[in-house]
């Protein structure tokens, strides 16, 4: 973590060197802040790096974590093409079924109802902007 951020700091320094350091008014330009932050990240990151290399952590059910991240990545990729109602219901039903070994049909129905119901509540009643529905399933 600290190592990654130190590297990020170094990267920021390289990138920020292309920005102007002064402005016409005589004040600092857009590059000053990033450079200062790059130095901070690099400095503190390097200071913490030796300890960070010794850090160890334990992992639990990584498969479930992967499922959750994967489901949301698929969601973001498909949302534009399939519209809100279909994509969201599918994702929520999938997660409900994947994470619960029992009562799956009941939960799938609940997920569907929850997705459609929240679209009705937030988009139609409360006028929250949600992705449009390309299939015209929704009035």
């Amino acid at each position: 973590m600290a190592v990654a951020l130190a590297l990020l700091g170094a990267f920021v320094l390289v990138e920020a060197s292309q920005l102007k350091m002064t402005s016409l008014g005589g004040g600092p330009g857009p590059g000053v802040f990033p450079v200062a932050l790059g130095v901070m990240l690099l400095g503190i990151g390097a200071r913490l790096a030796p300890a960070a290399l010794r850090e160890r952590t334990e992992f639990g059910h990584l498969r479930r974590v992967a499922v959750l991240i994967g489901a949301l990545a698929a969601y973001a990729a498909l949302l534009d093409r399939l519209g809100f109602v279909i994509t969201t219901s599918a994702t929520i039903v999938f997660l409900l079924v994947a994470f619960n070994p029992r009562r799956r049909p009941w939960l799938a129905a609940l997920g569907l109802a929850g997705s459609v119901g929240s679209y009705a509540l937030f988009s139609s009643f409360l006028k929250v902007q949600l992705p449009p529905d390309p299939w015209f399933l929704w009035p």
Binding site: S23, L24, G29, L110, G114, L121, F125, Q129
Partner: protein, 346 residues
């Protein structure tokens, strides 16, 4: 999840009651205004039957801002004049300096049922490389208002006239600070033009909003500021700030005591402007319908009293062809300004 559906149901019910509850006062409100309507014949629909349904208006800025007030006033007065069969469906899609909403409007069919704001920020955004579209990707329907700028100072400032202000900046380059709404914005370009005309050099200090500019002017953090009449009017009325000059051709009726820059020897006339635009390619008959509808609104008495005078806006109506040509000229002028004026290069 036993409770959530219940909560959803409850909220839904309440929303329905909310709609029912608010319907009552709405019935009485327009009737009073409608009686004041001049004898206007109803507009004839186009051959294809436009407008058959409500026009959806994407305001690309937050509710309560200048553009939002313009469209809401336009909606209200068009209802009074009965130029559209139904009120607009107005949605505020703010963010991204207005380009998020404009982009959303452009993604809709060019059938006249989706409209948005056409303003100078489309041009400045393109010149600064911040806009995801070109200003030519719009159909310009009608320009409605112009919004000039003023040079304002605190009432107790020692700068009494525009000449004092310019002399101070000539005597000490960058010695006079001028608050404005941001690098590359209209007021910044305008100040650069004034500098060029008058041979003076100011210290332009960019803020995030007109309100912030005014706060810092009142607090004495900047010596002067550029402000629209609508931003400064109330402060002037309260005797807290004074205007040294306005960028119009002639003095405006709301502020008859404010001299123009032109009459004080700085030959520079400019104004920001706002109008209605839609996606490129709206059919000509639909444009003609909209143009006529907006013309009627813009020439009505209610528009003058309830909108222009109330919010210190200046009438700037232009039809579609004129507005489109104006945009091209304005673009070329600004493009040149960005090339010529050294203080715009950062």
């Amino acid at each position: 999840m036993r409770l959530s559906p219940f909560a959803l149901l409850l909220a839904t019910l309440v929303t329905i009651t909310a709609c029912g509850g608010t319907a009552a006062p709405s019935g009485s409100a327009p009737s009073a205004a409608a009686s004041a309507t001049p004898t206007s014949t109803e507009l004839k629909k186009t051959a294809s039957g436009y407008p058959a349904r409500a026009i959806s208006f994407v305001v690309p800025y937050a509710a309560g801002g200048g553009s939002d007030i313009l469209i809401r006033s336009l909606d209200k007065i068009s209802q009074d004049l009965k130029v559209f069969p139904q009120p607009f469906t107005i949605s505020n899609v703010a963010g991204g300096s207005g380009f998020t909403g404009k982009q959303q409007a452009l993604s809709k069919p060019a059938d006249g049922y989706t409209l948005t704001i056409g303003d100078d920020s489309s041009i400045f955004g393109q010149l600064l490389g911040q806009a995801p579209m070109k200003y030519t990707e719009f159909t310009y329907v009608a320009r409605l208002v112009t919004d000039p700028n003023m040079v304002v100072v605190r009432t107790e400032s020692s700068l009494k006239t525009l000449k004092d202000w310019l002399d101070a900046a000539r005597a000490k380059p960058k010695g006079v600070s001028v608050g404005g709404t941001g690098i590359g914005n209209a007021d910044h370009v305008q100040l650069a033009n004034i500098e060029k005309q008058a041979g003076a050099s100011f210290n332009y200090v960019p803020f995030d909003s007109g309100g912030q500019v005014m706060t810092n002017l009142l607090g004495g953090k900047v010596d002067s500021a550029m402000a629209n009449p609508s931003e400064a009017y109330e402060q002037m009325r309260a005797g807290k700030v004074r205007a040294l000059g306005i960028t119009t051709d002639k003095r405006i009726s709301d502020l008859p005591d404010v001299p123009t820059l032109k009459e004080q020897g700085v030959d520079y006339v400019v104004a920001q402007f706002r109008g209605v635009a839609g996606p490129k390619g709206i059919p000509a008959d639909v444009v003609a319908y909209l143009e006529e509808a907006f013309r009627r609104v813009a020439k009505s008495e209610t528009w003058k009293t309830d909108y222009l005078a109330k919010y210190q806006q200046v009438d700037g109506y232009m039809g579609s062809a004129e507005f489109t040509a104006f945009m091209d000229v304005f673009f070329k002028e600004q493009e040149q300004a960005f090339k010529d004026l050294p203080s715009l290069k950062q």
